[in-house]
Every structure is written in C-alpha cells, then in structure tokens.
C-alpha cells in the first residue's frame, strides 16, 4: 500500500502514460489536452469573433470526457491514494526555492507562495497565475499542442515539428526558471 501512497516511480508512470496514448489511438482518437481549451472557447461562443472557433464541439465530447475524468482522477489520487511522503525534491532545489521565498513541499504538490488562496487574492499573485495561463493557452494553440500532443504523441510518431515545439518548450522553461523567476520572487 505504501508503494501506492508514495510517489510512483518514473518508469512506471511513463509507461502508464504511454498506455493512455496507445489506448486512445486504439479507440481511433489522439492524445492531446490543449485542444480542449479551444473546444471550451467554441462552446462559450468564440466563433462569433474568430473562425478558429467555428467547430462542432459535439465532436469533441470524447476529449471533454477525458478532461472530466482527469479532474476526478486528481480528486481520487489526492484524497484516497496519497500520504504526505511525496514530492521528495533534491535538497538543493529546496534551498534554491527558499532563496526565492518559496515554501518547501512538505508533501504538497504546489507551493503556497503561488497557489494559496491568500496569494491569488493579491494583485501580484493573481497576475502571475493569469499570465502563466495566458502563456500556456496562447503558446499551446500557436504551437498546435502541449506536452501531451507534442512531447509525447508527436515525438513518439517521430514528428519533426514536435521536436521543434519541445525545443521551444525547453527554451521558454529554462529562461523562465533561471532568469525570470528570480526577478519575480
């Protein structure tokens, strides 16, 4: 039981993620989460303002079902399959974080410094969350995919555009983590 309650090993996790992708392929679909953002905009009526959202969201119900399932999965994993022994970071990372005034994990998935209700109620905290979302939403649509669509599905299918996208992900991530976060926190 401890094995289930703690952090799952990367090899098992990676293998299971590949199974998700392959099972979806078997059901005639593809593994990609960012398209749901576009579907949601369409459902909200964005087609009035841009042809990009002129799609029949009903054809994407299968993907929305995955999203709902993912939400439930997060709930189940957090409430029933976890204890506080997880998120065992490299001690050096925890030190780096304290220099940024970001709290150590202590078993939490997300730092309070960014995700607590108190933080989101502050202008700066809210701005960080919103900006992060804007970058993810805009970036993933512009690149036509996110980590699931490009890093996992695209690279598994040896797609050069996905390699370019993943290189982009890393350039952006490294710049943010090394040069920008220290200015923000």
């Amino acid at each position: 039981m401890e094995v289930i309650l703690g952090t799952w090993h990367w090899a098992i996790s990676g293998f299971l993620i590949s199974i998700v992708m392959l099972v979806l392929i078997y059901f005639g679909k593809s593994f990609g989460m960012s398209s749901n953002l576009r579907t949601m905009c369409s459902m909200a009526g964005a087609a009035k303002f841009s042809d990009f959202f002129k799609l029949d969201w009903r054809e994407q119900k299968w993907s929305l079902a995955i999203v709902l399932g993912a939400f439930v999965g997060g709930f189940i994993a957090f409430h029933f399959l976890s204890n506080v022994t997880g998120v065992n970071l490299n001690p050096e990372t925890i030190q780096n974080l304290s220099l940024l005034h970001i709290d150590a994990p202590n078993g939490k998935l997300m730092p309070d410094a960014i995700f607590s209700i108190a933080t989101l109620q502050s202008p700066k905290g809210f701005a960080i969350l919103l900006t992060g979302g804007l970058l993810i939403g805009f970036g993933s649509r512009y690149a036509g995919g996110c980590t699931s669509g490009h890093a996992i599905s695209g690279l598994s299918n040896l797609q050069f555009p996905s390699l370019v996208a993943v290189i982009g992900f890393f350039i952006g991530g490294l710049v943010m983590a090394h040069f920008i976060l220290p200015y923000i926190f």
Partner: protein, 137 residues
C-alpha cells in the same frame, strides 16, 4: 455509452499524473534546474514505449476498435509557430508549473487557484484565435 470509456481513461490519466507528481509545480521547477532525473524519466519512458507501440501498430498494420486501419496524422507543416508557440508555452509552463492536462487534474486535487490559470489559458487560446492570421506560422 461511448463516452464512458474516455471518462475512465481520463480518471486513469488523472491518477497517474498526480501520483507521478507530474502535476507538481515543484517537480517542473526541479526539472528545469536539472536537479532530478524524475521528470525526464517519466517523459523518456513514455516516449520509449510510445515509440515502440506506434512502430508495432505501423508494422503490423493494427486496426483500431472500429476495425479501421490506424492512421496517425502528421503534424501540420510549419516552423515559426512551433518555435515561438513552444517558447511562449514553455515560459508559462515554468511559471505556473502546469500544462493543460494538469490544470484540470489540479482542480480535482483542490488547488482552486488553478482556476485563474485556466481562465488565463482560455483567454490565451481566444487571443490566439483573434490574432492567428497575423502571426508567422
């Protein structure tokens, strides 16, 4: 009901990603600091078995659930969209430590602040829709 299977796949996906901690801001930060193999191990292993699975599908011309030959569509041709879009996505990924899938999973774990990230992501998607014809692809 056909949607049930996708709902169940989603639950499985949500559980795996949460237990793997791939939804954790901390793990993403650690990854970009190159201070742990964990996230690289997850992505690398997923790629290894994904590649293997797709090669097997292609070699043995495996059919899908409905009996149709499986055709995995190639990504659209382009360059600027992938590198610029990728960099912008990466900036956001490192800032808030999540990508679209984890956004929904984290809401399930009770990280309500992610709702603001989701709002931003929807806005960002919308803005892309408005601007796309003016952007290099």
């Amino acid at each position: 009901m056909e949607l049930t299977r996708f709902f169940l796949i989603g639950i499985f996906f949500g559980i795996v990603l949460t237990k793997a901690e791939a939804v954790s801001w901390y793990r993403i930060y650690e990854m970009f600091q190159f201070q742990s193999f964990h996230m690289y191990g997850i992505i690398g292993t997923a790629l290894f078995f994904g590649l293997l699975g797709i090669q097997i599908i292609k070699k043995f011309k495996i059919k899908d659930y409905n009996g149709f030959p499986i055709q995995i569509i190639d990504k659209e041709k382009g360059f600027w969209r992938y590198i610029i879009g990728g960099i912008l996505f990466g900036l956001g990924w490192a800032l808030v430590g999540c990508c679209p899938g984890p956004i929904f999973i984290l809401l399930g774990t009770g990280t309500y602040a992610i709702a603001v990230v989701l709002l931003g992501a929807l806005l960002g998607t919308y803005i892309y829709g408005l601007l796309k014809d003016k952007l290099p692809h």
